[in-house]
Amino acid sequence: MSDRKLKAWEQAGLIDAATAARIRAWESAHARPLGLWAVIGIAALAIGLGLVSVVAANWDAIPGLARLAIHFALIAGLAVWLGWRGAAVAQAHAWWLEAGLFVLGMLGLTFMGHLGQVYQTSSPLWQPVALWLVLFAPLLLGRGLGWLTAAMVMLAAVFAAWNFAFDLGDRRPEPAQPWLTLRLALAVAAPALFAGLAARMGAASPRAAFWRRLEQMALAYALGGASLCAIASQSGPWYHEADGDYVLLGTAVIGLVGLVTAGVMRTAAQDRGGYMAAALMAGAAITPIIAFFLSGSETVAALLFMTLWAGVAGAALLAGWRGVFQLAVAVIALRLIVLSFELAGDLLTSGAGLIASGVMILAVAWGALRIARRFAPEQGEAA
């Protein structure tokens, strides 16, 4: 806290002398010895880096079994600490527990890679990540307190799902098969299910912040997927393509999973934000199906994309999510600008065209800014 600022505020009449004195007293009472912490931090960093480099230099000299045993002992030790002291730590320093869970999860994930290195095994990456999810998700979902653990679960689920899908796609025998399509669609849609779980669990949980983060992430995943679908639908028409039936099956399965999730979110909703989140999930769920039938036109694809995001903006308006509303307006504005280039690419080849497109970009940006400022709801709690 700078004293100069306090004096300036005092002179400007923003605060009186007594308030300034109280602020100074509070600041000096709560001052943290930053210099000391920095020195301790540098020393700890040096020791840590030294340890890492000593271990790394002798990595190959340590027998594989010994390395694995040490790695496993670290995991077990951390787990014992979490079991023994976890509840007390969560009360006093919530972030320590969160960090402990994160480190435990990372140690578990690297242990699987370590096994592969020692025993010279290799498998598609989704297999260890999916196994990791089975083993660690109950712990992370049951104890996680914030975005770090929520992101860990969500990222692992998304990675496993897409790696599985690509792996399946790579080895796909021709022609496509319904069973294969079904597995692919279910895998890709599965991470969205976390939104339903989070909505249900968060309703009566002391760890509401964690569940809200998880719900946000799963909803963002669904909206991102729906946006990609809308963008991709400018190719096609999909129903005329050789494996169009399979594309329809895939989008229908994805849509069904999304709608079921939206239904769960709807029944668990307690306030307007909950209802809007459920509505957005439903919108994201039906977008791929609509995209299938409307595919094949640049303009329609752009309109579909903008409709989806207009829905996001509308939901944000009703639920009072300021940041989300502004984001949605920005996304629509960007899409408008990109669309103008797609529809009139030859504008860029003449001077007058360049001026016209520049003016249009300015107009869209100005309009978006106006809307984002003027109509954005007051700062409220996000989904």
């Binding site: 496993f72 025993y119 083993l135 109950p138 712990l139």
Partner: protein
């Protein structure tokens, strides 16, 4: 009490799961028969070179340059660890030949039957690659083949070629 139980279970699950995975991997690593396969270098420009080495199998009995990309399995003939020759079947020709073939190898999830990967210490990788490029040396990889056809490359060593390759060494 119930909550405490489930919290404990959630903590024990990863420990038990990882321990079981370790035990299973350890057990599986000891299964199978060891065979020796001649190999050649694969791609010297591999970005991750240094922690592992990739190579191409020169299965005895197959004509050089045979495309194994979609080959599901090969039948090994010979007496371990020496392979007399291998026989290929048509791709997608039904399940692995459980009868009529005493030992077969099956393509792994990540690699076809034409290439493999061996994790090696960083300081040894460069030397191994140097030798792989040496036309006077023939690289041999010892693989362990499980009954289900799964291949695990174990180690790489070299023996002098009876007749060195003509011209400068090249990798495909």
């Amino acid at each position: 009490m119930n909550r405490l139980h489930s919290a404990l279970l959630a903590l024990l699950l990863p420990l038990a799961g990882l321990a079981a995975l370790w035990g299973w991997t350890h057990y599986r690593a000891g299964q199978g028969t060891e065979w020796q396969v001649p190999v050649q270098g694969y791609d010297p420009r591999d970005l991750l070179r240094g922690h592992y080495i990739t190579f191409r199998y020169d299965w005895p009995g197959l004509e050089a340059g045979a495309d194994l990309t979609f080959q599901p399995d090969l039948c090994i003939e010979g007496t371990a660890p020496v392979i007399r020759r291998v026989q290929a079947r048509a791709a997608f020709d039904g399940p692995p030949p459980r009868t009529g073939c005493r030992q077969f190898v099956r393509r792994s999830d990540r690699f076809g039957l034409d290439q493999g990967i061996l994790y090696v210490p960083q300081d040894k990788a460069a030397g191994l690659e140097e030798k792989l490029r040496d036309p006077r040396l023939q690289g041999m990889v010892t693989i362990r083949v499980r009954d289900d056809g799964h291949i695990t490359p174990l180690r790489m060593d070299f023996r002098p070629r009876s007749e060195p390759l003509a011209g400068p060494a090249s990798t495909p």
